[in-house]
Amino acid sequence: MAAEPAIVVDGLRVRRGGRPVLHDLRFSVAAGSVTGLLGPSGCGKTTLMRAIVGVQIVEAGRVEVLGAPAGAPPLRSRVGYVTQAPSVYGDLSVRENLRYFARVLGVPQERVGEAIETVVLGEQADQVVASLSGGQSARVSLATALLGRPELLVLDEPTVGLDPVLRRDLWGTFRRLADAGTTLLVSSHVMDEAEHCDELLLMREGELLAAEAPDALRARTGEQRLDEAFLALIEQREVAQ
């Protein structure tokens, strides 16, 4: 594990629409790891990811990414962010989308073919994105984030709506990227996905319940299944309150 964490979050508070969404979060994410950000829908996962990418207005706290304040201009080519809704041009083909984003990033056009292969969209490369399925457009969005070979990839629910085979393949890709040194922060509301992660951040109602490795979580709660472990944590906390 590298000495410098890829992400350091300290005392982060965010309000949206006058309502507190994130309450005083503190954690760090090790470089070169796959960290799962898990929790039910609406618990603040997306807001936390937006704060890490630097597109969220925050109320208080420090968010440091790759040694710079989140959202600092030099980070724009070092951090890749994939939103939950595919943010690509529906009226362009897969290849046209990727070509455009490659030009914006200033990376060689060969990366376009590589990225298409990584997300297994070779057969659809010349199709207009609007004609693809939801899962396929989500992979186009992922491919655009891979173009710049970012050091940190922040992926918001990248596996929603994918069939089990593709999901497994995608987690395989994430693992390969991490082995090559990329840090990945991947959110999901499905606890099965926690198995693929080195570290877990468990969130509920804007608070962090746990930040540890899956095995440490099992040992602490005495539960083998991670969803049971998550429930045990929630119960413990309710008893404590």
Binding site: R16, G17, V53, G54, V55, Q56, I57, G71, P73, R76, S77, V79, Y81, T83, A85, P86, S87, V88, Y89, G90, D91, L92, E96, Y100, F101, R103, V104, L105, G106, V128, T144
Partner: protein
């Protein structure tokens, strides 16, 4: 700013437009169609057709680029592509100038087709050069584009964006002097029309089509069109946020 990114953005916008042939057909066919209607409507008053028709050739691109740009930019906002672009190494001006180049290119084609029909088939006479009319049309297209970029920030849906056309473009068309000479309007409206950029666009076109040159107020007209375009682009850039709530 970066020429590579600006250019890539212009090509991307044009490719998107190419995917929508019906919109291209409408952009090119509607202005000549409307001018033909106008010629028929002014059948017994050809002088009025000459007075209104010439400047209109140069005003159509203003309104079409206003609508096209406000909808395109609204789509960038609602589909999340704007947020993605704002998280990438892309300067706001790259995006705005990319749009500018793309829509200026469309405006050139639109103005050429409209002029060819108006001055060729419909018998409109222009005292000045048709090239000057086309050049002013492109300037007006850029003015409409920057106004559309700016107001798109205030629309949440395409329904709202479309309503900005009657709300923001029609008053300028009514008061710019095209339908009624400005010195015949009630005083307060003359002052209002002084503040509207389309008034200057009309005056420049009117001078070229009826007098043959931009005339004594030409410099003022052209600088107001250019100044308003730049001001609106700057205001538009302010509405592109890297961080949102």
């Amino acid at each position: 700013m970066n020429a590579r990114v600006t250019w890539a953005t212009a090509l991307r916008v044009l490719t998107q437009l190419r995917r929508d042939p019906r919109t291209i057909a409408l952009l090119l066919a509607v202005p000549p169609f409307l001018l033909s209607l106008l010629k028929g409507a002014f059948y017994s008053d050809p002088k009025s057709f000459q007075h209104v028709g010439g400047p209109l050739v140069g005003l159509f691109p203003f309104s079409t680029m206003f609508v096209v740009t406000s909808i395109t930019m609204l789509r960038e906002r609602t589909t999340g592509t704007l947020e993605r672009l704002m998280s990438l190494p892309l300067a706001k001006l790259d995006l705005l100038f990319g749009y500018g180049i793309a829509f200026a290119a469309v405006a050139v084609v639109q103005a050429c087709v409209t002029s060819a029909v108006a001055f060729g088939l419909l018998g409109l006479d222009v005292v000045g050069s048709t090239a000057a009319v086309v050049a002013l049309a492109v300037g007006n297209a850029l003015l409409g584009m920057s106004l559309g970029l700016f107001v798109s920030a205030f629309a949440r849906t395409e329904f709202q964006a479309v309503q900005f056309m009657p709300a923001i473009v029609f008053p300028q068309l009514l008061l710019c002097g095209l339908f009624v000479a400005r010195d015949q309007m009630i005083g307060v409206l003359q002052i209002v029309s002084d503040t509207m950029p389309l008034t200057y666009a009309f005056e420049a076109l009117d001078s070229v089509t009826t007098e043959g040159s931009l005339g004594s107020r030409g410099a003022l007209d052209v600088s107001v069109i250019a100044g308003a375009t730049l001001l609106l682009l700057a205001l538009g850039a302010l509405t592109l946020r890297r961080r949102t709530a």
